[in-house]
């Protein structure tokens, strides 16, 4: 199989950057899951969609807006009414989900190439993201596992909190390089490491 090429190109500069006066504020990385799939249920079929996701990924999603779950291999969260983003470390999730989601339940759309997954982790992750998004990142408002849809000016982003100080951001691939640069810029102040 041909590997996907990262859209970040030269903008991805592994190593340490910015102001380290107080240690590393955040770590930035590209997670490059094998699959990113949008699963969208028809109104009324949300539960069936969640069951389909569970049967494919083993992830049980709670009810409610933005609810999500994470395992070693998979991640999933709601980002819009009836819509979920589901990822897999491996390729082939779109086909697997499509197999479970019939036309009566909804649709599965492969976005494995269309979205770039960026991870930001560290004590200053909330602070850095706060510079870019008008969203309350504090854990009480944005619990672990849950996800949101938001936007930084022209750049649309879906964000899942995958740990106490870890967030996974899904942005449109064509914007990924610009977004990455901006994220690095925002992280300069607290010192960041690219891995």
């Amino acid at each position: 199989m041909v590997e996907q090429l990262s859209p970040l190109g030269q903008a991805f500069r592994p190593g340490s950057h910015g102001n380290f006066a107080n240690g590393v504020g955040v770590t930035l990385s590209e997670i490059a899951p094998g699959s990113i799939v949008q699963a969208a249920a028809w109104p009324g079929s949300e539960k069936k969609m969640m069951a389909a996701i569970a049967s494919v990924t083993g992830l049980k999603l709670a009810d409610g807006a933005g609810a999500g779950a994470i395992s070693e291999r998979h991640a999933a969260f709601g980002f819009a009414p009836g819509k979920f983003l589901v990822t897999d470390v491996f390729e082939g999730l779109a086909a697997a989900l499509a197999g479970q989601v019939g036309p009566a339940i909804g649709t599965a759309t492969d976005l494995s190439h269309g979205r770039t997954a960026i991870r930001i982790e560290g004590p200053k992750a909330e602070w850095v993201l706060g510079k870019l998004f008008a969203v309350d990142f504090e854990q009480t408002a944005f619990p672990i596992g849950s996800g949101i849809s938001t936007v930084h000016h022209d750049i649309f982003a879906q964000i899942q909190r995958s740990g106490a100080d870890r967030f996974d951001l899904y942005v449109f691939r064509s914007f990924a390089r610009s977004f990455w640069k901006m994220l690095c810029h925002a992280a300069d102040e607290v010192g960041y490491e690219v891995i």
Partner: protein, 998 residues
């Protein structure tokens, strides 16, 4: 040297000496000084010049309300003009210069403007400079000549031209409670709220928390107020739920309790820390806001009140108590209220001689008498200052008897020598933010001030902001507001804080102006005098808003923080109405000026992100000249060394038509339209039918807007029964997406259709030309690409170099052509494989110019023709308007205006003089370069056609089709291009489409 540093006292760090320059002269100050305090300490009392008369000005205040002492701070070539010296913290190496003076602050030639005096009164511009009605200076000429000179003299500081290298940032914050102001009231509120565990933000514009507690000289429950402050701050720092923001001015109160604040992160430093911004623009969404913004002291209006050395009383006290600076050794006082006595006492304690206190009131309290006696001042009750003496610094004041009730002066004027005159005309609560939030201030006759109304929205008030002018009240009110805002039960305050010295009476006498001979300033910076206010009244500009606009009162950089109320009062008197009936002008954001850089934040230097195709880096490496298309970048040409743009695109287009070419089409909008009702949905949004499209085929579609105009076009591919891939033009991708979502969500929610943007999922490479099929055949596996397997508009799936691809045979260039779609992450891989496969066949990459050339030759329309004003019929696409079904736009498309015979229609043009045609040129029957007229339409796109060997163009021409075969002229006076053209069909080349079907 009159002003000076006291030997001890103040909250500056005397062990840390800081060097800076002002107008090129080196000075020193201490850590904790502002530029104003440091200059005063160095005996400098002339800091600026006023706007209109260029009068010498000193320091009037000690804070954001400063109208006079404006300076420019330089950092290398970067200039920051109009900063109040009272707000500039000094740092080692600070370079500040004065402004609005020539050649120097001391000798300013424009000071002659003062001689203009009464002629340069309010509104004089409107009455003159109109010039003659005939002759060479008629019309606007004379005025513009005058204006030229007026503009030379206008303006305060000078903007620089060097790009600012600072960073600016934005920060989003959320809290339950935002406390604005950290004086006794704000601190007390924050302390209470903090215990609730609620998220609290405390914002203070000063470099240190504490507000007036830093310099009031009071004790709170036996402890110096500054220590009380330090205790609370220490306590607040322990709370994880509290964020303390100093140097942070809350400047905007927007809808939904969204507040904007400016944090000056690095201005007080010689250099910002690595990665740190100069300013941070905070956007704070607060459940509740506690406004504890204090009050501004107002000046009194009397002749010569603007001379350097005249200062607000509380400011003078602050200089003494906080900065260890005496604004003068001999100080006179003029006041209409008690608070100036405290100032006099403080200044006296710090070492100044208080020569006299002129109190406008006929009687004063014993407390005041005692204070006056304690500081050894001559007490002149029922007296007023009627003039000041000195040039650029105060030498003395003139005092006369004054009757507050009638405003009448009596007796001989007396001269009193003084280096400094401090004044107090009462206090105006800082109601700006509440007013921005929609609260209408109410006049309080006791306090002679506008107070905030009872809160009804997302805010509460406390302290001097509410007109509570004693520290004890401030602390209690803060306590109550803090608890209320944090949702805590109200409890009785056990013991009211004990404040020493005891509070004085806060009520001023209702005297705002002392009428005597000479210029008495109301708005200091704008040189608006009391007479200007009366002139405005005489001419009928009595509404406060008219007063403001006619005289510019309150429109300067301080926005009338001190001057508004005195101005109003003078107008009220002239009209003979009470102040509240005259009203007050509207407060607007920002509360204090905000740097443009801060508001642009991370977009400074980077307005928009770049959108890149998966093959972007290849284009750059292969010398493509990139062309911005919205946020995207697309190759325009891949020029060879020495080639012109025209040579390059002609080569690319010709090679494509002769052999093959490849172009990156990844930017086309792509939308997955999925679901059982997808076909039905497409029938409704496209003007033509899609439900009949078989799986594995694509169709060209046209969309109209509801008003019947053409909206967008593109091909849509049926990948499965319920699965379509729609393509849109690059420019309209977002708009089409929104259009589809709107109809699905709002108009037809019963349709089971999902639309998803997959623009970024797919890389697209279009290869076309007579060799295209061979090239494809040589590199595709897993499918055939011959006519049978892949007929025109057919779709197949296969692999290229191991990557899965989807290929549709469709043509924009008019050649035998294929669009090869692969996963975007494979785009580069597939592209390189295609380029490699094309090499033996002489295939070239081509850019937008060649793409445009080939589409013009074919007469295909794009955004230049689909400009929002054309109908399908205008573009000869009437055949795509289905008669079998209604569709979006079908109901409106036949209105008379959309079917009129004289409408602009798409035509082709051929240049008959073999010279290039230009987009935007107009078409006329007879060109008249001297007097262009009679436009019939315009050129939308033009090129040199390698196939026709001619310069050709597409154009929209009135009744165009009827003119086929006729001659006309291009008329392009802007580029001085005139010449003959023939109007022809827009299908220039291969009208039957043999090549693409081939």
């Amino acid at each position: 040297m009159s002003p000076r540093r006291t030997p001890s006292g103040g909250r500056i760090d005397r062990l840390r000496t800081i060097r800076f320059t002002f107008d090129g002269v080196a000075y020193t100050g201490h850590q904790g000084d502002t530029l104003a305090s440091a200059l005063l300490a160095n005996g400098v009392s002339l800091l600026g010049r006023s706007f209109k008369y260029h009068r010498p000005r000193g320091v009037l205040t000690a804070g954001v309300d400063e109208p006079n002492a404006l300076v420019t701070v330089l950092r290398g070539d970067v200039r920051e003009p109009n900063l109040p010296a009272t707000m500039v913290e000094i740092y080692d190496g600070l370079v500040a210069v004065s402004q609005n003076r020539f050649p120097s602050l001391n000798y300013d030639v424009s000071a002659v403007n003062q001689l203009g005096g009464k002629v340069l009164s309010a509104g004089f511009y409107y009455k003159t400079f109109m010039g003659p009605v005939i002759g060479p200076l008629k019309g606007t000429r004379f005025w513009m000549m005058c204006e030229h000179f007026i503009r030379r003299a206008a303006g305060l500081g000078r903007a620089g031209q060097a790009p600012d290298t600072s960073r600016y940032e934005r920060m989003n914050a959320f809290c339950d409670l935002l406390v604005v102001g950290s004086g006794p009231a704000g601190l007390s509120a924050a302390r209470e709220a903090a215990t609730s565990g609620k998220r609290v933000i405390l914002a203070e514009l000063d470099p240190q928390f504490g507000g007036s507690a830093n310099w009031s000289g009071e004790t709170i429950d036996g402890e110096p107020a500054s220590a009380w402050t330090a205790d609370i701050i220490g306590e607040l720092k322990e709370h994880a739920n509290v964020r303390l923001l100093k140097r942070t001015t809350v400047w905007g109160y927007y809808d939904g309790n969204t507040l904007a604040a400016l944090e000056r992160v690095s201005d007080h430093k010689a250099a910002a820390a690595k990665g740190a911004p100069r300013h941070r623009h905070w956007v704070i969404r607060a459940e509740t806001v506690v406004l504890a913004t204090g009050a501004f002291e107002r000046p009194l209006v009397f002749p010569g009140n603007d001379r350097p050395g005249v200062m607000m009383a509380a400011a003078a006290m602050r200089y003494a108590n906080q900065f260890g600076v005496l604004p003068g050794e001999t100080i006179a006082v003029v006041t209409n209220n008690d608070s100036a006595y405290r100032a006099a006492a403080a200044l006296n304690k710090a070492g100044a001689t208080i020569v006299a206190i002129a109190d406008l009131r006929p009687e004063i309290s014993d407390d005041c008498r005692n204070l006056a006696r304690e500081c050894g001042a001559e007490l002149l009750v029922g007296h007023a200052i009627i003039g000041t003496e000195g040039g650029k610094s105060l030498k003395g004041v003139k005092v006369a008897h004054f009757d507050a009730a009638s405003g009448v002066l009596a007796g001989e004027a007396r001269n009193i020598q003084a280096e400094c005159l401090i004044m107090s005309g009462g206090w105006s609560p800082t109601v700006h933010l509440a007013s921005q939030a929609g609260a209408r201030p109410v006049w309080d006759a006791e306090l002679q001030a506008f107070l905030p109304p009872e809160p009804d929205k997302g805010w509460l008030g406390a302290g001097a902001f509410k007109g509570s002018f004693s520290t004890a009240e401030c602390i209690v009110e803060g306590f109550v507001a803090g608890r209320q805002a944090a949702g805590l039960a109200q409890i009785e305050v056990e013991t009211r804080p004990h404040i020493e010295p005891a509070a004085l009476d806060p009520r001023p006498a209702p005297v705002f102006e002392i009428k005597a001979k000479g210029k008495s300033f109301v708005d200091f910076q704008h040189d608006v005098t009391a007479d200007d206010v009366r002139l405005a009244h005489l001419e009928g500009f009595v509404s406060v808003e008219h007063l403001k606009r006619y005289t510019t009162l309150g429109m300067a950089t301080d926005q009338g923080k001190g001057s508004n109320v005195p101005g109003l009062a003078i107008m009220a008197e002239a009209v003979g109405k009470p102040i509240p009936e005259v009203g007050t002008t509207r407060f607007r954001p920002p509360f204090a000026p905000v740097s443009v850089g801060a508001l642009a934040a991370e977009r400074f230097g980077d307005l928009k992100p770049e959108r890149l195709t998966p093959m972007h880096d290849w284009h750059i490496e292969n010398d493509a000249t990139m062309y911005p298309a919205g946020l995207w970048f697309r190759p325009m040409i891949y020029g060879d060394p020495g080639e012109t743009v025209e040579q390059a695109y002609v080569r690319e287009a010709r090679t494509t038509r002769e052999a093959a070419g490849i172009v990156d089409v990844s930017t086309l909008g792509k939308i997955a339209v999925q679901g059982p009702d997808a076909a039905e949905f497409l029938d409704r949004v496209y003007s033509n039918v899609f439900s009949t499209l078989p799986v594995g085929k694509a169709r060209y579609g046209l969309m109209l807007r509801e008003d019947g105009m053409v909206f967008d076009d593109g091909t849509t591919w049926r990948l499965g029964d319920n699965d379509f891939l729609m393509t849109t033009t690059t420019a309209n991708a977002g708009k089409v997406m929104q259009h589809l979502e709107y109809f699905l969500d709002v108009v037809w929610p019963d349709l089971k259709v999902h639309v998803t943007s997959v623009t970024d999922q797919w890389a697209g490479a279009a290869i076309g030309g007579p060799k295209a099929r061979e090239i494809l055949a040589s590199c595709v596996t897993g499918t055939k690409v011959d006519n049978e397997a892949l007929p025109f508009m057919g779709i197949v799936h296969g692999d290229i170099a191991g990557a899965p691809v989807m290929i549709c045979r469709l043509s924009f260039s008019g050649e035998m052509a294929f669009e090869v779609y692969s996963g975007a992450g494979h785009g580069m891989h597939v592209w390189e494989a295609l380029v490699e496969a094309g090499k033996p066949f002489g295939m070239v990459p081509y850019g937008l110019e060649a793409l445009g050339t080939m589409r013009i030759e074919k007469g295909h329309v794009t955004g230049a023709e689909i400009d929002g004003r054309t109908t399908a019929r205008d573009l000869h696409l009437g055949w795509m308007l289905s008669k079998k079904k209604p569709f979006i736009g079908s109901a409106m498309m036949d209105r008379e205006g959309l079917t009129a015979p004289e409408r602009l229609e798409l035509v082709g043009l051929v240049s008959l003089d073999n010279r290039p045609l230009n987009g935007g040129a107009h078409i006329v029957l007879e060109a008249d370069p001297e007097n262009p007229h009679g436009s019939l339409g315009h050129i939308t796109a033009a090129c040199f056609s390698p196939m026709l060997g001619k310069y050709i163009a597409l154009a929209l021409v009135s009744a165009g089709k009827s003119r086929h075969g006729k001659r006309a002229q291009v008329s392009d006076p802007l580029r001085n291009r005139f010449g003959p053209v023939e109007i022809v069909s827009h299908h220039f080349f291969d009208p039957e489409g043999k090549r693409m079907h081939g």
